[in-house]
Amino acid sequence: MNIQDVPQDNAGFLKEGKVRDVCYAVDDEGNYSQVLSVGWTPKNEAIKQAWDQVNSKAEKIRQKVINGKLSPLAYHMEKGLMNIALLSQYTGFSRWTIRRHLKPLRFKKLSSADLEKYAEALTISIETLKTI
């Protein structure tokens, strides 16, 4: 890849002055050097696809929450890229307990201390955790 061919396709993932991709490219004499790039379309699309996948799964769960099948915790767990096993390690709740908290009725009875544990693991506020 030549230096002038290093793509600069900005999809908003990377930012100049903060974080950019370091690419290795050759000049006209064939000598290698580092060039900074803000992105490349094929890669941006792959990243976008991964997030679309997360969002579409979360959307399905959101519908179930609206229909009263699941608690908001299920939605925020999906949004936060967590699963029951990981959430269990971060909060200290057992998997079995978390599975119960995914039910709307049980979730409503949670103490604020327990809610705080979930909110902290998911880096959201308790208010956000309760809503969708």
């Binding site: 890849m1 903060k18 974080v19 370091v22 290795y24 490219a25 064939g30 890669k43 990981l86 390690q89």
Partner: protein, 333 residues
């Protein structure tokens, strides 16, 4: 106290911490040199290990290998630790900083506050160097960031003890002693030799050139086997591994080409410079594969680039990489 540490960006985090820490101790090497000495260029396809339900594909050696191999081949003595107690891990870190030694840490990126949100998934093999502590803030030299960043004690604890696959457990590493004189030529030769072995002679079909061929044979039928949607998700994962932050482009192939170029000069072997040019072309082919594959991520239904064609591209790359590493192997003998 904040150490006088020169922060230089790198394509890859572990190369970066190694380069910057070596420089702090007076050994000035470039990222490609460190990568090459550590025999970093690799390929592995492990369909039975999954990340986010998708098979793991890697273009470099395992986490931790770069620092270990580079330092051991240069004769630099290092120390590594991991912890079960969070408190002890922070005390030890403070102790190192107070003694004026920068400390490399293995961390998870999920809670890494300064990272771009789109990159914060559960990945537990990121590397950074702690270079100081002042007013409860830790100063961080993270090789993928353009500037020095800071983290509070609590934030740093959280990333050091991230959970999930391969938890970092507060892993920490630092340089103890550097020899007065390093034998760079020998280190480079050893690095290349080991890299040829890894690419050509691992007797398991998942690794090296065999791994690329194995993957090509599987890729051919991804769409019929998994359905168009799941096949495109796998392809997306592959493209991210190839190009996402840290490879320097084309799954480390450009970085390795840069290494061969530098090595050709140091060892005075002109033939190696030609191999560097070949490697650049192979890198271009990997990029071509990525852009052809990315077309399948957009539209649903019939794949824009048939998987059979993608498989063919991979086979072509495998053939050329095999030829290159065989030639390299002969030169270095």
């Amino acid at each position: 106290m904040i150490l006088d540490f020169s922060h230089k960006m790198s394509a890859h985090c572990e190369n970066g911490t190694t380069v910057n820490m070596l420089k702090f101790h007076g050994i000035k090497l470039t990222e490609p040199l460190v990568f090459g000495i550590a025999s970093g260029c690799f390929f592995s396809y492990m369909p039975f290990i999954k990340v986010n339900d998708l098979p793991v594909i890697s273009f470099r050696n395992w986490p931790g290998v770069i620092f270990n191999r580079a330092t051991s081949k240069l004769g630099v003595s290092v120390e590594r630790m991991k912890f079960s107690s969070i408190d002890k891990s922070m005390v030890k870190l403070d102790e190192l900083i107070d003694n004026g030694i920068p400390a490399g840490l293995l961390v998870g990126v999920y809670y890494l506050t300064y990272f771009p949100p789109e990159y914060r998934f559960h990945f537990n093999a990121h590397n950074l160097v702690v270079i100081g502590k002042e007013n409860g803030q830790y100063y961080i030299s993270d090789p993928v960031m353009e500037n020095i960043e800071t983290l509070t004690e609590k934030e740093l604890q959280r990333v050091r003890f991230a959970k999930g696959t391969y938890p970092p457990k507060g892993r920490m590493y630092w340089i103890k002693n550097v020899p007065e004189k390093i034998n760079l030529e020998l280190a480079i030769c050893k690095g290349i030799k080991k890299n040829c072995d890894d690419m050509l002679r691992i007797p398991i079909p998942l690794f090296g050139i065999k791994g690329i061929r194995y993957m090509a044979s599987r890729l051919k039928s991804w769409d019929t086997r998994y359905g168009e949607h799941k096949a495109s998700l796998r392809l997306g994962q592959f493209i991210r591994m190839l190009e996402e932050i840290g490879t320097g482009g084309a799954g480390f192939r450009f970085m390795y080409a840069a290494f061969l170029q530098e090595a050709a000069g140091i060892l005075n072997i002109p033939a190696m410079k030609e191999l560097s040019e070949d490697m650049t072309k192979i890198g271009d082919s990997w990029r071509n594969f990525a852009s052809m594959g990315a077309k399948n991520l957009r539209n649903r239904g019939v794949p824009a680039t048939p998987y059979r064609d993608l498989s063919q591209l991979l086979l072509d790359i495998a053939g050329r990489e095999e030829k290159l590493f065989r030639q390299l192997d002969n030169i270095i003998k």
